[in-house]
Symmetry: D3
């Protein structure tokens, strides 16, 4: 019997979409305003889902405070109030699209979540554009 628990957090970051193998013209054509060389930014909402069995002692799948602190330490410390392209190792050579940010966050968190637990992340770049990744 498995149940999913979700924790929602948010962070603010600047980014720019850019493929260094392309000309400026092609970057502008493909990424439009998101290619602005001076960057723009977002309030990212992140929902982390952990699925597993309920511990009969606590009634928890995972302690939400522990999960919140884990996300804080490994995700928010790294990305909150940062320029993703400039200030982070993860996006030095990876284009910070919502898709890629979600995969990077999933890979970071996967190391810190009990392997018996399934993990999924949903990332809202705006309330109208969002992505979801579960490692499969």
């Amino acid at each position: 019997m498995k149940i999913s628990v979700f924790r929602k957090v948010h962070f603010n970051a600047a980014h720019r979409l850019h493929n260094p193998n392309w000309s400026d013209e092609k970057n502008k054509e493909i990424f439009g305003k998101c290619n602005n060389p001076s960057y723009h930014g977002h309030n990212y909402d992140l929902i982390v889902k952990v699925k597993g069995e309920i511990d009969p002692e606590t009634g928890y799948v995972i302690d939400m405070k522990y999960l919140k602190d884990l996300i804080g330490e490994h995700v928010l410390e790294r990305f909150d109030h940062k320029n993703l392209n400039v200030d982070t190792e993860e996006f030095k050579n990876v284009n910070p699209t919502a898709e890629n940010i979600a995969v990077v966050i999933w890979n970071i968190l996967r190391h810190h979540i009990d392997p018996a637990h399934e993990l999924s992340v949903r990332l809202y770049e705006t309330p109208r554009n969002f992505v979801e990744y579960d490692g499969e």
Copy 2:
């Protein structure tokens, strides 16, 4: 490795729930206020989900601007600020319940989305009533 991307749009429409094979009494009994002969209406929120692999060149599953324009051209042009029962071919003979609207939209979009991509639509008739269809 697959990831889902979501685009949320909205449209406003009038509709009426009605089964022409039933008496007025039975229509009123089953559909209640939603059977009002003069129609009522909704702000529909539509979330389109496309699941596929990330293109390593762009970092996108699908260009969100392209997806937005596709939904605009094929869904919003057809249904926004319309009376679903009166102004559309799709609901001339189909009762415009949220379920049927979602299936119709899925079928429309399926023709325009790369067959390698999975497609799902979620339709909010109100914030409290919504449906989801993935073609299975």
Copy 3:
């Protein structure tokens, strides 16, 4: 010492913007898609604000259940799941713009709220378009 209390309700209705003194061309030019002769519709959110002194016996400005029932009886019964242009007396000769709907609702409720209380209504036609009227 005065405090404001707010009650939020919602209703769904069809409507059409139209000025019968104008030509069809002018109606179409001014009201655009909102002039569709077959109507379109909205999920209207209504927030009613009542400002007054706190009753020391109850700790209430006004009993929220009473206010909810009042709005239900005098506003929702009249407008919910209706075609505003066709099914209501109020909009037979009044164009059902958000502005006019708010004024009509304010006038209806003013008769049923203690004159010692200030009254204001906010009406959301969509989450992006809304109006507010306080009778002044």
Copy 4:
């Protein structure tokens, strides 16, 4: 061809997280502020999902009014404006974590939903902490 329909409702309740087999110190250590002996409370949002085939007569998977009334009778009557630990049979011996509340609600509703229909419940304890259970 199956489609999911969702109905969202809310209820307000007091609760306290506590394991009677543990010392007060351990309860305090594990459950923190949620262990407050005088209770605290939440506005719970509950989303019930029912998946099945569309009835060709109605265009419905399930009548939303029926589903709403079902949830009202079997869930809201039991838990709304209650102290989960004190006023309910279900949580006399079960710790009312979000996980356990979701499982209890799923089990209650499963008896009243057509076995041909899949059932899932999502419970928001706060907008940032929520759980989902589908019986598997």
Copy 5:
């Protein structure tokens, strides 16, 4: 030239509406389910508004981090995860209606906000019921 800044926070609490000068019957009649002797609870959302001139050095009316910490220390520490009737001095003899909670919070914060600044608080008991108090 004055501008308003707003900070939104939330807390979870149990409460019960009750007037000790009334019979149980009258309490039950007036307060309904909110009179439940075992309490119920809410996720309260609090929006604090401070209006004043912009400091030309900082571009701030008030440092939002300072305002957040102030609310945390003086409001959240006192009321979050508490039973308002049982655990607090403020509601020992005051009925914890939304109106009274807002007035109590305004009075607490007024002592800690620069007298040159106007202060207003909005308190959501649920998304549908809320109150606002500005001290006038």
Copy 6:
């Protein structure tokens, strides 16, 4: 008889809080993470309020499409997907706090709104931090 109409729009931008007259240490102390030299960013939500009399011909205070286009041309074109500190004239010498951005937007729009209409702007930097300015 006056009524207020509101139009909500959004834009995404990068920014950095910084006072060039201060040392790096003081900037860091006062502005914290918001002083990050590489910038961070936000999804800004902007609500523009226009108050005036209802035109009896249209039932409008102001045509919402006109208001939307006005905001698009004069605000979104200037600030959407931009770095406020680097890409705009307005914040070359003005610290882009939410307060200052709201004042700048109000001043821009005031030139384009009928002087008979009152104008107010509300700017959300995050759902928890926002400001409001009405020119007084």
